[in-house]
């Protein structure tokens, strides 16, 4: 069984983890086009190569991020999500879309 190195719990069998899909940037839901939104919701690059993904260590309820190769299945790196998401994200109404997302 494959081993994933959980940033909190160390190396564990993959059966302790839940795959959470690719880390993708959400288009501004108030300003993007329907096509852009559909693209975000349904479409995927689904590449044969290196992807950045959400993984959950179920027993400890810990979400983290893994960089994995979708052909060799090698997990190249795992790290705490705060590396990518380090500040509060807010949403604004249309009249203030210039505010950062």
């Amino acid at each position: 069984m494959k081993i994933i190195n959980c940033p909190l719990n160390g190396p564990r069998n993959i059966s302790e983890f839940v795959h959470g899909g690719e880390v993708r940037e959400m288009p501004n839901p108030t300003t993007c086009t329907d096509k852009e939104w559909a693209d975000y919701v349904f479409y995927s690059n689904n590449i044969a190569g290196i992807v950045t993904e959400w993984w959950l260590h179920a027993p400890s309820g810990y979400w983290f991020i893994a960089v994995r190769h979708t052909v060799s299945d090698e997990v190249i790196r795992t790290f705490d999500a705060s590396e990518l998401f380090n500040q509060r994200i807010d949403f604004y109404m249309l009249d203030s879309v210039e505010a950062p997302l």
Binding site: M1, G20, P29, T30, L56, G61, F85, R88, I89, M93
Partner: protein
Amino acid sequence: MSRLNSPAGLLINRRRRISFCFEGKQFEGLAGDTLASALAANDQWLMSRSFKYHRPRGPLTMAGQDANTLVQLEGEPNVLADKIEIAKGLIATGQNCNGSLADDSDAFLGHFSRFMPVGFYYRSFYKMPFSKYKDSWKYWEPTIRRKAGLGELDLTFKPQYYDKEYLFYDVVVVGSGPAGLSAAITSAEAGARVLLVEEQPILGGSLTYHRFDQEGLVADVLRVRLLAEVAQNQRIKVFTKASCNGWFTDNYLPVIQGNRMFKVRAKECIVASGSFEQHVVFRNNDLPGIMMSSAAMRLMKHYAVKPGQSAVVLTGNDDGYFTALELDDQGTDVAAVIDMRENKDIHSNELKTILADRKIDLFTGHTVYEAMASKGNKKVIGVEVRAITGQGTVNNKGFKIACDLVCMSAGYMPVYQLLCQAGAQLSYDDVASEFSLNKLPAHLHIAGSVNATHALSAVLTDGKRAAIIALNNIGLALDQPVPNVECQRKVNFHWPIFSHPKGKDFVDFDEDLQAKDIVNATRLGYRDIQLVKRFSTVGMGPSQGRHSALPTARLVADSTDRNMTQTGVTTARPPFSPEKLAHLAGRIFTPYRRTTMHRRHLALGAKMMPAGNWQRPAFYGHEKDRDQCMHRESVQVRTKVGIIDVSTLGGIELRGPDSAEFMNRIFCYTFLKQPVGKTRYAVLTNEQGVVIDDGVSCRISDEHFYVTATTSGVDNVYRDMMRWNTQWRLDVDITNVTSAFSAVNLAGPDARKVLELLVKDTDLSPEAFPYLAYREGQVVDIPARFLRVGFVGELAYEIHVPSRYGEALWDVLLEAGRAFDIRPFGIETQRLLRLEKGHIIVSQDTDSMSHPAELSLDWAVNRKKPFFVGRRSIDILQAQPQTRKLVGFKLAKDFNIDDKPKEGHLVLADNHLTSKITGNITSCEFSPTLDMIIGLAFVGIHQCAVGNTVYIKVDSGALILADVVKLPFYDPDNLRQQI
């Protein structure tokens, strides 16, 4: 029952005789015998019938590597007779025979082999002239199926106890031959914790049966020395009679021993699995008495069984000579050694002289062209020998030699299965005429003959070499130099295939495939080795091509003008050797969850039903009385008071300054302004805008929410919440408190009266504690959370208490409720009650496409918020013309309850039975309170107006008319839940 003298018979205990039964006959063997060796000792060589032609078959490898000795035990088919040890009272029979093993009336099929060219079943059995059958396969298949298959399953068999265990080692060595032993010892001496896995009952591999020298002394001396070193070393754990049955990612190795599957995790893995000796392809090469040289050696050295009286050794390497010497030493007359190699290719002259000294005839550049059989092909009685004139061609004249044993040494095929599973690749060396392995993944190593190393001394060094490389990976033995390994010894004959016009020159014994079958497959256009396999079924039998892979590759390469490496062999897949389902399943773990009130429900005679891993009361009473029970329970709730265990409901706590903001982003409705001490309905959609869960949000304080979720949904809801906030970084703490709280819903006009008896610290009056309010207090001395919610449409209190008090809560409420005829009710009843109120159940009244508007839940969606999950998708969906809607419907008062439409029945566009499907029924019950059949259904948008008639197609095919009505069905002004 005569046996050879010691030291022959390493595995047997001559003092313990064991009787067993085969084909209804009593036999006697010795402790340590396999069924096959014991039968052979009794001169019983016929052990099975072949798959297609029902040809007699006997031992081929004596190592459990072929399908020739598959027998049937009681309750267990397809058991390898040369692997299973005899035990007192063992009862075995032959399998796949029509009649008895000795007298199989299906043996005639062999004579019809000419009617059965490769893939013949694709070319036939589907047409049938002058027949009523259009496709005659219907007619043939049952017959063919009966002929197919090997053993039989006992459908009444009860499984025994099997289990599993995880193990962790620095180095795992697979195979305990000279290479494996040397690798294990090197590793352990360097300080590694080592697991040594061996299939046989004793360590040593080829050292236990092979002969390496003229005197036949080297093997034993070396084995004794190495085993002593293993025994002395505490760091080596030895598993014998254990099979490492696969290689999985990150050196994860299933090792099967006894009734247990060990799941071994190895930092480093060294595979020293050795090599399979290969047979020679000639006519009748499958007769009992024709076996691998190594099989004859195993019979003698392991079991002290004399493999025959008069032997012919057919070889393409030096090993055949040593076999001849061993046979000669053990009193088998060696009629001749037939060496396929030309004189010039035989480098060791002393081997020839020894044969000469022993008066053993040697024919070089010759082969066995055909074997002669006794009546019914039961045993080999002689061979016809011919001189080899070219690749696979022979003189048209030969000579015959009488014998009852033929030993074949055509060469070896590395035991590549585990390694190819790990992604290693095979490439062919034309000089050595053998496949070798390369492109191994990190932390996986090979040593010995699997690594194309054949000379004993080289094999030992190779084990050390592999070990040191492995050890270096884990920071050990860094000071030791990596020895380099030289081995020139050639063991494979380049073309041991001598096709015969009359056939029966078997390439694949499992599937009865002859040389021409393989060639003809390519002639028919199936040129890729994979297509050859799929078309001819070569290698698809129980031994998965252990012996057919090499000759097949040679034949295919030759007839498609591609080289051996391009041609290759078919993909190796786990398992290495067939494994019982019981081993894989082990002790089956089926987790279950229980509410603290579980035992109370059982005591009250509840009919339990699964809800995820939970068990919940459907209703209280016997299954057959479902309707009456639900009737009684629902009326009780409507007129008096009922209680239901809702502990399985999900519970999630949100605490911190951003709790409200977080709720606002997750759920559709708005929660920023939700008053403290109030509850609010909360609908959850996914990013596609589909309703996936709902619950009740309680605001305990400005910065503290307690929100419920559905039993099956809570885990995902919680996970999603956690992931969203990992991105949003809001200042909120999220906890799944589902099992921290046990809960009941106390519902009915008398609910307050019951509660007032137990709750002293909270004013329960409608003014102080109105509908939809949230309070905290104590039930007697049990700390509790009270939610006044109206799912069932009566005065109701949901009471949530810390789980350790759950059972006591149930007890005190039932005790206090007795004065009011309190009656527990189950979820089936609750479903009826909520249906009367027109409340939906997510996943029953919704599907994987339903968005809020379709469910008339727009009121619970606030689209003025800047964001909530799924909001943009809902905008897009709302902008489109709707196609369907969930509505309430009722049937005529006098409608016969037995014809009640069922959930899942269809709603049609109009009153024609063939018209378009516009929807389906999601809920439907008879309501005793309303005295009519009511339900919820998706209907076409043109049908959804109140007062419309909808057409329901039921399973009888009949069309039922129903009226769309306004919801709720019961208490339209929602007064009762407010009292």
